[in-house]
């Protein structure tokens, strides 16, 4: 983890998103798919906290060596400000943060499920998996075609891809969840990776549990610091020995988790304090493919 003052090399609009490329070799050479960055906001504003973004691209070699790309979905005051930042401005960046996706050692078929800007970190992951000779297939979706992140890039990186939009403006009409069972069968998914809204991830987790497919998901929980100080971004995760659960910080113990161990009901419930203690054991899921 490094803290750098990084120059914006370029910033471009991609549908509903803004993709920002930084010159940050110290971070780029360490960053792995699934890890994230903490970007400081300007001084003198009402909003204070750093904003956190998954790494979309970290180039170690070639003409783009030392650059780092992340994707912003403008929506709040911080992301609006970042969306308007111009090339050659400097950002205070801490990264790479968190634990990224694990790569299977064996040759297995990997299915990615990316919703909205979640696809950004999965494309980075896909490149790394392809470099390790894995088969990669994808489901990429969003509400509208503007919210399907880089569909062409998805096509380039995958053996097969299913694009879905809620309004049918691109690809099939529906959600990534609608496409999941058929895609998983068609490409013989042996591992599933997902980055999506929490409610979608919960259902991906249920699907993987039912089909006994090992999976890794990148979660998003509201975060203050991003580097482990404040204990705000926690996720309830069952202990391996089945003795209960812990609130793990998604910034240092995640953001990538094994969805079979996340207590989704407890995490997403409207009345979490009313819930009884979680079940003793968790449904067994086939272990991670070596």
């Amino acid at each position: 983890m490094k803290r750098v003052r990084a120059e914006i090399l370029s910033t471009r609009r991609l549908g509903a998103y803004q993709s920002i490329t930084l010159v940050a070799p110290e971070i780029a050479e360490r960053a792995r798919p699934g890890q994230f960055l903490a970007i400081q906001m300007p001084e003198g504003r009402e909003f204070l906290l750093r904003r956190h973004f998954a790494v979309h691209q970290a180039s170690r070699r070639g003409g783009w060596a030392g650059t780092l790309e992340f994707v912003v979905e403008p929506g709040g005051p911080g992301t609006e400000w970042l969306g308007k930042a111009r090339a050659h401005e400097f950002l205070d960046v801490i990264g790479p943060l968190g634990k990224g996706f694990a790569y299977p050692k064996r040759l297995v078929n990997c299915l990615m499920v990316g919703e909205g800007h979640g696809a950004a970190s999965l494309y980075f992951l896909a490149q790394e998996l392809i470099a390790r000779h894995k088969r990669v297939d994808m489901i990429v979706g969003g509400e509208t075609l503007e919210r399907v992140f880089k569909p062409i890039e998805g096509k380039r990186l995958s053996q097969t891809i299913q694009i879905v939009t809620t309004d049918g403006s691109l690809g099939e009409r529906g959600s990534v969840l609608d496409a999941l069972p058929e895609m998983a069968d068609r490409c013989g998914a042996q591992v599933i990776y997902a980055a999506a809204s929490t409610t979608t991830l919960e259902r991906v987790a249920a699907f993987c549990r039912e089909r006994q497919i090992p999976a890794q998901v990148a979660v998003e929980e509201r975060m203050a610091c991003g580097f482990g100080l404040c204990f705000t971004c926690v996720v309830p995760v069952a202990r391996k020995d089945g003795s209960g659960y812990d609130h793990l910080r998604s910034c240092v113990d995640g953001p990538v988790f094994n969805p079979a161990r996340v207590l989704w009901d407890r995490w997403l419930s409207d009345a979490p304090t009313m819930l009884p203690t979680p079940p003793e054991g968790l449904p067994a899921v086939r272990s991670w493919p070596g």
């Binding site: 204070l48 509201r222 203050a224 610091c225 404040c230 204990f231 705000t232 971004c233 995490w267 304090t273």
Partner: protein, 317 residues
């Protein structure tokens, strides 16, 4: 002042710190996260997150929401319990190379007594900070330390047992901070930490829900600065011999200087460290520059230098 050695070191009545800037409770992770980002030897002290007798999983999420010039937050005091803390986290704090202050919290007198006894004889720890803002399980009150009788009872019990200095962190919700300060110091507190964050809450008009998972939480950040300054000012005037640590709203060297002028002996940095982990070091540097510019020898020289109107009478303030 030629020939006078200038230093940012402070002495809180026997507790010596390399700088007057500490990391506030709840903002130092598990003792090892900051050392990956900054040279923690250049921080005055690390205050641990509040440790309870038994492990606590803490509150449901969301635990954080921004508010104007501040954050509303809660963790439900997630912590591994005193035994887990001593085993897992205290060795990491010790490796940070600076003064370690352990924050303790409970809901009964017995919990505080047992926590204190378990911390005795630990060379790694230089002081205990007593958090008093939990609900009182024995007396059925919402904030344990807001009442003088109870705060004095608990702080007194901790101070009688403790071989190291005890700082009482006073709840912001107390009706009379000066009276409470007098009470806990008479009971045996070595010093005061002013103030614990005030209770706070946010509502999201779009979702029609509270912004925090457990509904209510606390307010921290720059928004607190004037609240802290007034509490520090009033208590310092009433009790000039008692070490006061100001917390709430310090994010720059100038903020720290203002707290010292108001009567603080040292400051703690919370929210600012979550945004900029080097803030505790930068703020100390800012204090040092101010001392140099104004030709003061140490942060202690700023105490009581606040220029008040000649006719000022604190009792009418």
């Amino acid at each position: 002042m030629a020939g006078v050695k200038r230093s940012v070191a402070v002495d809180l009545g026997g507790l010596a710190l390399a700088t007057p800037v500490m990391v506030a409770s709840g903002c130092a992770g598990t003792g090892r996260e900051l050392t990956a980002l900054i040279d923690t030897r250049r921080v005055g002290a690390l205050v641990t997150r509040s440790i309870t007798l038994h492990p606590r999983r803490g509150d449901p999420t969301p635990r954080i929401a921004e508010s104007p010039a501040g954050i509303t937050w809660t963790t439900g005091m997630q912590n591994p319990g005193i035994e887990g803390f001593i085993e897992e986290e205290l060795p990491r704090y010790a490796r940070a190379g600076t003064t370690v202050i352990v924050s303790i919290a409970g809901t009964t007198l017995e919990e505080y007594v047992r926590l204190t006894s378990l911390l005795q004889g630990r060379q790694e720890i230089s002081a205990i900070e007593v958090r008093l803002s939990e609900p009182d399980d024995e007396l059925g009150r919402p904030v344990l330390g807001a009442h003088l009788d109870r705060a004095a009872e608990i702080v007194g019990a901790v101070a009688r047992m403790s071989m190291i200095p005890v700082f009482a962190k006073l709840p912001a919700s107390t009706p009379d901070v000066v009276e409470l300060a007098h009470g806990v110091v008479r009971a045996g507190a070595h010093g005061l930490t002013l103030l614990d964050p005030p209770p706070a809450m946010g509502v999201d008009a779009t979702t029609m829900r509270p912004t925090l998972g457990p509904v209510a939480g606390w307010l921290s950040g720059p928004a607190l600065k004037p609240l802290t300054i007034r509490a520090v000012f009033e208590v310092a005037r009433a009790m000039p011999e008692t070490p006061i640590v100001a917390v709430g709203g310090v994010r720059s060297g100038e903020d720290a200087v203002e707290m010292l002028l108001a009567g603080a002996w040292a400051v703690q940095v919370g929210t600012a460290a979550l945004i900029d982990p080097s803030a505790p070091i930068e703020i100390a540097r800012g204090v040092s520059e101010y001392l140099k510019e104004k030709r003061f020898a140490s942060p202690a020289d700023l105490r009581g230098r606040l220029r008040l109107p000649t006719a000022f009478d604190a009792t009418t303030a």
